[in-house]
Amino acid sequence: MIYDVSIWAIIIFVVFVGSVLGLSFYFARKTKSASGYYAAGGNIHWGVNGIAFAGDYLSAASFLGICGMIAFSGYDGFLYSIGYLAGWVVALFLVAEPLKRLGKYTFTDALDARFNSKSIKLTASISTLIVSVFYLIPQMVGAGDLVVPLLGLPHYAGVLIVGTIVIFIVATAGMTSTTYVQFIKGALLIVFSTILTIYILNNGLTLNPGEKYHEFIKVGAVVEDQKLVGITDSTYSLKESVTVEGKYTFVSLEKNEVVRWFKLSGDSSYLEEMLSISVADDGTTLYNGEPKSAQKFYQVGHLTKIVVDGVEVDKTGPLGPFKFLSTMENSELIRFTKKAMPNKNTTVWYPTPTSGRDMINPGLLYKVSTKAGATFWTKMNFVSLMLALFLGTSALPHILIRYYTVSSQRAARKSTIVAIAAIGFFYMLTLYMGLGASVNGVLDVESSNMSGPLLAKYFGIGLFSIISAIAFATVLGTVSGLIVASSGAIAHDFMDKYLNMKMDDRKKVKAGKIAAFGVGIFAILLGILFKGMNVSFLVGLAFAVAASANLPAILFLLFWEKTTAKGIAFSIVTGILSSVFIILLSPSMYERYGLLKSAAPIPLDNPGIISIPLSALVLVVVSLLSQKDNKSKVENYHND
């Protein structure tokens, strides 16, 4: 896809980033102590902290990833919204207050509070690092994706910009400036998503998404004995015909020396134009048969039928939030499905008529209905995803450290509730933003991540600029939080506590800043390396690893007297190893290695359903075997 760069976009972006940096300078002068650096001095107001939680949590995965997934796969993207929010229930009811009571700066502190165990310090700090790095990659990739249309820069430039700014933010002021950046960005994201949703509802549903929308060409087909023998339009000449997976017939037609790909319709009566990207023999890439600069690679997604109260209409006019959904259910739309052609350097996206009913029910991505071809393993994928999302939130180190920025347990609880309300409201909007993007002819089939911002562009370049700048700030904020968490794991948990380097306050802050710098550089490299990877894919992975490695440890520590230090350490190691192992052998990864999906030894894409119970089981068994260790543990939790 090729985008025109707008001067407004650049101005708004620069103002935005400038204010964020100014804020960091301001707080940098105030931050001197370790408590200030790692936990913002523990005196952030709960309301600010709550919205900052929302800022932390609504990362590139939520705004870019979920909206994109709903736009391309309907309700299945919304499953992420439901699961991500449900995870906060675990955080609020079980984890928030005890964790605040037990810890000082990091999640490792809390786990270790009763034991003072070297093995916990080591395993928990490694787990914090691994989960944070998994979470960092998609954020950096998302940043790269964003600057392409926003500033007209290449992907790696975006990653470099984010990396540099974030290192600056974190290295100057740590958690205080991170918190305020998150607060501002979280608030703006929610406000502007609401505005975007109002635009969507006010616009209603229409068969014609605008004058610029490309009308896909249809050419009559002549078929004999189920074989295509000719076409009815003599301005085209038939080049070749390819059968894919035994059921799709893809045909290339030439007109005015441009070759485009078409698909034979289900009833074999006509050929329908598709989107295609081909790499020619001389190495040039052609978009719909022409160079990228010809701008012939269209944005897509439109309705073919709208039914309001039993009557077919061309457009609905403004709709209420409920009427929008029920009208959507009775409508029909065209989605575009990707197919790579075997033995050819061509990928096509063919129009797939989809009923509105399928869009607002689960099943397009995660097959659950046996009638639609669900198998045991596709069902397990669905359950595993929902489990990992539910249990992942309260195991994410960069979320957990936010409990140390407020002054009391009560403030911890209240900020969690503010977070739930803000995040829950935002997640309800994702359904509208995603569905809105699916029907207004804005989708870029190359990158689902840009669906939300591109929808904003449909309503005006100003809204697009602001939303994109916010999305960029989203990445900045989340990356800052992750880097603070990682630097805490290295400087506080590992160097100070595990290696027992006995650093004073000043040294600890310095070590944290150096660690932040190192992790930042590492994140920049990974962001460039993983270009093109799906943002949600890696975040889902991070959730599964976090839930497997950290959650059993936290919950058993809080609710089971017999938990031992060895039990916790073994459980963390088991959780990391088993979840990463299953991911590496999963069908999705096999596809990435360039192997056959069906060759994957473990037919499961999300490891949660195996690795979480396994990690819990190891904790119980090892704890029971090491009971004698517990005689010396520090009793400060149950004596409250």
């Binding site: 523990g42 919304f78 439901i82 929010l85 009811f93 079980l94």
Partner: protein, 89 residues
């Protein structure tokens, strides 16, 4: 006031709050599992209209989000009352 556990004042309401938290957690977990189970064993049911012209997918999905918010407010109100009552010096 900030930071480490040791410096924080003892909270006499902790045990009661924890019990309430666990109860509410179980309630929510059951409802969340209910959604997953319907998806697993009877996905066709999710397409059935339940309230107005909205299907069960929408009602249950939005319901889980709204419920989390509502339960959060209830939990906070009860906890705050317990703390105020039990932590009087």
């Amino acid at each position: 006031m900030h930071g480490p556990a040791a410096k924080m004042e003892a909270d006499k309401a902790a045990a009661k709050k924890s019990k309430l938290g666990v109860t509410l957690f179980i309630v929510y977990t059951l409802l969340y599992s209910g959604f997953v189970m319907i998806g697993l064993f009877n996905p066709e049911l999710l397409g059935v209209h339940v309230i107005g012209k909205q299907n069960l997918s929408i009602v249950y999905g939005f319901g889980l989000i709204v419920l989390a918010i509502v339960m959060g407010f209830i939990y906070n109100a009860i906890c705050t009352r317990m703390e105020d009552k039990m932590n009087i010096k």
